[in-house]
Symmetry: C2
């Protein structure tokens, strides 16, 4: 079996952890598997390097930032290789360029164009564990690039796709995907499997297990993912094309606090108002979610509210204020004291009772719903932030408990 | 003018020093010169990385050590590039493999085979300062290699040769080559120029300014070197084919404490004894120096003494003891309480008075000479270690003072 394994920075943070990871790798190698490993930079290495750069030039070019940051993974691949050598496991480490990770030229946020697997295949054929630096690649100028947020997960999935690996195992500090955050909901259950689409919704809703970009790529190339922990050796959660829909309709309840609600008031109730507003925000690269458009009131005046991430709040407010006249509104307000609570599961759209059951759960515990948004596999509601954990627990109990 | 500049680790140890170096580079660039810069890893970076590796696997493969250590220079080139960007100087940093530094496959002690200057020339033509990672290269397997001790000096000289640079400036923490160590001899004088051969002798005698390997390469390719300080802006010392012999016969007085004397006694006074002894040591890669063979005494018994570096002492003693029977000796003794004091200067061999003058200087201050060794451009004596500084001062005064 050909296995691609990815270990994040916290899994390789020090010598003891490196040997733990080396042990996991050797175990699978000794069973006769071919193993390709993708590693991130150790612990805080990347942040430390960014700090060094900031001290010298906060406006350093992205090309030089990538040159700098890519050393973090180069350090961890060589140290992990040394740990495997110590265990007597044949091994070789490869940087992004050595591993044939060809990207476009967008420094600091490069996208993988193709992977020339010749070198990796050559080393696998020599019965070596191949350790590849995650997060990095090389562009057509022979310059080093980095892949931006979630880069190492993306490296691993892309490698698994290119090598036609049997499975891509993503090791994190949790041992799988749960029906809810176990820190909030005591009786949260680990899922055996989940579909790509469900995982995408869960990730975007703050489940924080896999980066969306890697899940999207896994879906595109049909790479079977497994999310598991590097700190214990129990089976994790599999992410694949179709999950067992029959078994469990709702896959998880998620909470997202990185959300702020904006309301534009005094809008004329006429065609094109929403278009003007949202195309303006799109032009500034601001994603919006949970849109609520009030019905026309007296004098044909209406209100549109929507949510953005907290990081986008300030820009969004400024853009709207600067263009309030063009949009045709009178005022803009915002509320940061909100959370998004969602249930995710395939086939939800064809089960109309699901939404009702969710709202009932919230009503049972006296939580007010501010806005609602639904999709094929997701229902999200906006609630007061202080109520979010209670909402998650109530919904979880309603759906999950027998 | 095309200038290659090399800055050592202490010259780029922190942000302030990086900006100092960036200032020196920008100044020359703004005068219309093309500037290629070779940098070492910052301060203690390399030692810190070695320590990390030791913690994991003291017997790590050299290939993985090179993968690890090469990150040190990659960090310093990107940070220096950022400092130059801040000063508004167009710049690009290149790793060893990007700069076309092709080496053989001897990891940790690789030798440069050739430099493909295409990328560097391309960037120079775009009017950029080009910063190249010293100490590292790439072999024919596309693997990263490091050049071992004195590697960055060698990188700089090799680049200067390949690019046919007008001068290769080596910046250190001293501002040139002196007639003696200024810390020992108060009236030591900075030399304006020195020949390659003289520099080679001075370096091997502990002047510690340039690594021999880089001087040998500079001599081979006739690269004009200049040794100067990054901490002040005064002219340094030029190293070139022929120094101004007329001006000053003796170029410098040097002391070397990294020396231990070994004596093998009870040897039969017959042909082949010295050959047996020294071929044995050569087989174990031990260099010997200052050989003294006593004249045959009663019973045709003689003694051979010689010096080795302190690092080689233990191995040398063991090798000799293990083979004492085969060599034909009765005992081996050693003395670590010695120093080598030497004078260096071209044309010494044709000036028989020089040696006498040196010995006279030592006699004047009552220092006993244990052994003597001479070459075309060097006379070395072995003295008691506690007397070495006094010896240097006495010889320096004798030759240098008007």
């Amino acid at each position: 079996m050909l296995i691609v394994k990815k270990f994040g920075g916290s899994s390789v943070a020090d010598a003891a952890k490196l040997f733990n990871v080396a042990g996991i790798i050797s175990e699978d190698y000794n069973k006769g598997n071919s193993v390709v490993v993708v590693v991130s930079a150790q612990g805080d290495t990347t942040d430390d390097l960014i700090e060094k750069a900031q001290e010298i030039n906060p406006k350093a070019s992205k090309r030089e930032m990538d040159m700098l940051l890519s050393t973090g993974e180069q350090i961890s691949i060589s140290l992990l290789a040394m740990a495997l050598e110590k265990l007597g496991t044949p091994v070789i480490s490869l940087t992004g360029w050595q591993a044939g990770m060809h990207t476009n030229t967008t420094y600091s946020a490069a996208r993988i164009k193709d992977i020339d697997t010749e070198r990796i295949t050559f080393e696998i054929d020599k019965k070596k564990v191949v350790i590849v630096a995650g997060f990095q690649g090389v562009n057509r100028y022979d310059d080093i690039t980095t892949l931006g947020r979630g880069g190492s997960d993306t490296s691993a999935v892309a490698l698994a796709a290119a090598l036609k690996a049997d499975v891509c195992q993503i090791y994190t500090d949790v041992d799988g995907v749960y029906t809810a955050d176990p820190r909030i909901v005591k009786n949260a259950v680990k899922l055996e499997d989940v579909s790509y689409d469900e995982m995408l919704e869960l990730a975007s809703l703050g489940a924080n297990v896999l980066h969306n970009r890697s899940v999207e790529m896994a879906k595109k190339y049909n790479v079977e993912l497994e999310v598991l922990s590097s700190f214990n050796r129990v089976p994790g959660t599999k992410v694949k094309e179709v999950s067992d829909v029959e078994k469990m309709l709702i896959k998880g309840v998620a909470r997202d606090n990185d959300v702020a609600q904006i309301a534009v008031t005094g809008l004329k109730d006429q065609p094109g108002v929403a278009f003007k507003l949202f195309s303006l925000l799109a032009k500034h690269n601001i994603n919006v979610d949970i849109i609520l458009q009030s019905a026309g009131q007296e004098n044909n005046i209406q209100e549109i509210s929507f949510t953005v991430t907290e990081g986008n709040l300030e820009t969004a407010l400024k853009v709207i204020k600067d263009n309030l006249g063009a949009i045709g509104g009178t005022d803009v307000k915002f509320d940061k004291n909100v959370s998004k609570v969602s249930i995710v599961g395939a086939g939800m759209a064809s089960n109309p009772g699901v939404a009702a059951k969710m709202f009932e759960a919230l009503q049972d515990v006296g939580i007010n719903i501010k806005s609602i948004s639904t999709s094929e596999i997701k229902i999200s509601v906006l609630v007061e932030r202080g109520m979010a954990e209670k909402a998650v627990a109530a919904i979880h109990d309603k759906f999950m408990l027998p």
